[in-house]
Amino acid sequence: MQSIDKMNAANISTRRSVRQVLYVTARLILGAVFIYASFDKIIHPAAFAEAVYNYQILPDDLINLSAVVLPWAELLLGIVLIAGFWMPGAVALSTLLLTIFMGAMVFNFARGLDISCGCFSTSASEGPMTVWTILRDAVFLLLAVYLLFATFFPKVPLTSDR
């Protein structure tokens, strides 16, 4: 019936628009978070290196190199995510990084290490790493995983002819 086809077409394009809005919103949020997170670490490399050291995970000799490179990776990822450019690489790398951060935090939380998160700031005012910092990272990781699926396994746009 013609009217049912028209309803289906409208329904489909609404669903597609909603998906697009969700996709762009997730990109903008995650991109902004990465960019914001990179600033203090780029400005205070020595303090950030100490935060990395305090996690007691990397070997001493790799700490400074990581502390110097990671913030720039975050900044670049943020820019690329917001621009919507190189999405496959950007979402894959974002997911990988956030998973590594999550792993590091959970590991240290489990072994009772009392350290500063070092997530957004290198100063003491950011506070210790707690369940809340882990949960916050989980939210970011969820955004990244959503983007990963949306980028790599996009729902094939439904057409109105069956």
Binding site: I42, H44, P45, A46, A49, E50, Y53, N54, Q56, D60, D61, I63, N64, L65, A67, V68, V69, L70, P71, W72, A73, L75, L76, L77, V80, W86, P88, G89, A90, V91, A92, L93, L96, D114, I115, S116, A124, S125, G127, P128, T151, F152, F153
Partner: protein, 164 residues
Amino acid sequence: MMQSNEKWKVALVQAVVILAIALVLGLVVNAVRSGGIAMIGDWSAEARLTAPTGESVIVSLSEAEKMFADKATVFMDARSKEEYDAGHIQGAISLPWHEVEQQIMGVVERIPPDRLIITYCDGETCALSKDLALFLKEMGYEKVRVLVNGWSLWKGAELPVETG
């Protein structure tokens, strides 16, 4: 439309390029800026506990014990309040590093800047005591020292402790 496995290969190349650019940017900026850090840092305990002026703030357990005998010495526990309550060096006050900004004024009012302060926490690599010590120095305390791995060492030597 790109097949899924092609997308993964593209993703890999893009990710590697992003990391490579970050590497170059990071290294170049670090090399030319004024606050840059060495590529391989000295993370030994001595290096970590040397103030920017070059003097070491570490005290040994035997030195700390002697200073403990002098009642004017103030021991500060940089760990959380819960850990402090569970057990601390006798006479030590609690000044958790993670709450220093809320509690520092109370401490400044009670303790004059010429007193000898020894901060401690627990563990060889614990940074709380050192962060607290450097902060106290910035606040104007002239004599601040760190007893590395203070809690474990003090307990291990069966020196006076208390709870609550």
